[in-house]
Symmetry: C2
DNA sequence: TTGGCAATCTGTAACGTTTCAGTATATTGA
DNA sequence: TCAATATACTGAAACGTTACAGATTGCCAA
């Protein structure tokens, strides 16, 4: 249970980690001067500044994070808050890499703060705000009226959301244009002669649920197609649930001849369900799906895909939070990305 | 650029965050006493102890991490070191959740420390050790002679590896028995009458590469099958590379009638390659693949799968590092897991 | 009564950093 | 010449915690 502190290792060959005091001693200056010299304060002589910075670089000085944090309250930490059981696999992976990429050139560390199905989504947020464990937060699964965003806004915690809110409050976000996605998907299906379309939507409650539904509806009326209701499942349901519901649907008299799916894994289930019902993809029905990594075309080459780049989302979100922390106006840190490339893979790769 | 410190908010309705001093004032004790009372030190009277702990709980006292860290050197941080571009998607996601699950009941935070293709894998390790940014580290992509493990061992940084090393040094690890996996896979293919088998291996250099190869070879000789060399690609190659190499291979005169694949994404590429060559899965060739989430059977029901549980790996690794930090013998913190369930999905789900 | 001792409790210092309130020296204006 | 001012630097304090070295009290044996 007891842990040895990393004490002064006198006599050992290993060097003690340099601090401001070390630098002060080496340069013959006071710690205050050294501290200011390192951050280019104007009241330090140009030569002194250069000298201090040179020595610091030479001996590999790195500010002690605990010291800075205790003194300033700045943690140099960005927290990514994730749902442990509902988050899309590739989302987690890609967004972490996207965030990391941006943070790697800064003193910021990325901490992952998870919460599970059973927990209140507010809990990790309250924890972060109350303990001041991060300078900025990134959240996903954003809702139109999102208590997390409201809370952080009220408590002055900089954050960015993946997806927009709709509360009349302004904050940084990054969003994929799901309205455009749904429209494009419907148009695509319509252009192939599909007229009775079903939508496997995002989970109701999240903002992009209605974005997707609106886009779907708008395009339906534009192209004069009709909807076959398929709202007993969403992409949050299990593969098995989606599969059996799809099969059920496809066995009905009025069945869709086209699907729009908001997630790749769910699409696998839809296709399985279609085939369970004895129908054939590309002949009886077509499917347009979002995907975040280029794997669906390997699955069934008849699938139509739209790509959503989660890595980009991660980078943008990180940039936004850092921007807010750095004092930029939250309203200027919003981005909406449209994926133009609806593509089909109809030809096998030539060898 | 300038950041306001979270100063004392006198007059504001928001409470100042309680510290030991707050507790000391409220209980009428000294901060030292309060500090010790909270950690059940024996020299504190039983009643005092209870009283302090009660008040602490009531006002929601939480130790300031920066204070603890500055004073003790303990960071209460576990770092997960990940390769930004070679790591399997589901691995990242699942291992993070596995680790989180264990850490959630402790004061530890999880920080993700990434490194990219272009970087020396040692760089993040050196950073962590030199700056003392974590109390423990988890690494993946372990090599037989792993400089990262050696370095951390030399510098007294507790860690756990996903995969074993082979340097005669003892440290915590969690590993999936890839020797057993490869043997089971070969046996399975042999039992279906497959005799000429190809292996899509892990990347050479990693420890489980040779484990897999050995298991493959051992089982080949056991069942009297032969190997069709397929070692110009590994699961680290791109989908396209694996796909075209597979197609190439399948067009040769002596082509395999069975594949063993060490990763699910790679398996998609193998199947695509097989079909590119005009052959049919289940008829001309069978494939056994590892997978970490139950999706491959949706892809082609003829696929034979073995499950590797990365979430479990994450939990085990976290437990191991915590154990080491807590003073347990590193040799007692090793686990090897065997996946017995080789399973095939031959029947569509009945509806 | 005194000394010894256990049981409880306490003040001070230190971890590394930044900020506040200076100090010393040189420079300028009149 | 003197005061005012700018320039370059500095010590002390504080952030919240823990460890060290006491301090106080009551109790018991001598």
């Amino acid at each position: 249970m007891d842990r040895q502190r990393r004490g002064k290792n006198e006599g050992a060959s290993a060097q003690e980690r340099p601090t401001l005091k070390t630098l002060a001693f080496m340069t013959g200056l006071g710690v205050t001067t050294v501290s200011r010299a390192l951050k280019d304060a104007p009241e330090i002589g140009a030569e002194t500044r250069r000298r201090v910075q040179l020595v610091a670089k030479q001996i590999g000085y790195r500010p002690n994070r605990a010291g800075v944090r205790l003194r300033t309250g700045r943690t140099n930490v960005i927290s990514l808050v994730l749902n442990t059981d509902r988050e899309i696999m590739s989302f987690v992976s890609d967004i972490i890499y996207g965030v990391s990429e941006v943070l790697s050139e800064t003193p910021y560390h990325l901490i992952v703060t998870p919460y599970s199905r059973s927990q209140d989504p507010m809990e990790p947020i309250r924890y972060l705000v109350e303990t001041g464990s991060a300078d900025g937060v990134i959240i996903s699964r954003t809702q139109p009226n999102d208590p997390r965003a409201r809370y952080m806004l009220e408590h002055g915690m900089p954050f960015a959301t993946h997806g927009r809110t709709d509360m009349g409050l302004v904050h940084p976000y990054h969003d994929f244009d799901n309205h455009a996605f749904a429209m494009e998907a419907v148009r695509r299906l319509a252009s192939m002669g599909r007229r009775k379309l079903a939508l496997l939507s995002p989970p109701p409650g999240l903002t992009y649920y209605s974005h997707t539904l609106d886009g779907f509806a708008d395009a339906l009326s534009e192209v004069g197609a009709t909807e076959v209701p398929f709202n007993t499942v969403s992409i949050d349901h299990t593969i098995e649930q989606i599969r059996s519901r799809t099969a059920q649907l496809m066995r009905r008299d009025v069945r869709p001849d086209g699907f729009v799916s908001s997630a790749a894994a769910a699409t696998l289930a839809i296709v399985a369900g279609i085939e369970d019902a004895g129908l054939k993809l590309g002949r009886d029905v077509d499917v347009v799906s979002k995907q975040s990594s280029d794997l669906l075309h390997l699955f069934r080459r008849e699938l139509l895909v739209v790509n959503e780049n989660f890595r980009l989302a991660g980078s943008e979100l990180a940039r936004s939070v850092l921007g807010w922390i750095g004092g930029a106006a939250p309203g200027s840190l919003q981005s909406l990305v449209v994926s133009g490339d609806v593509q089909a893979f109809s030809q096998p790769v030539a060898v």
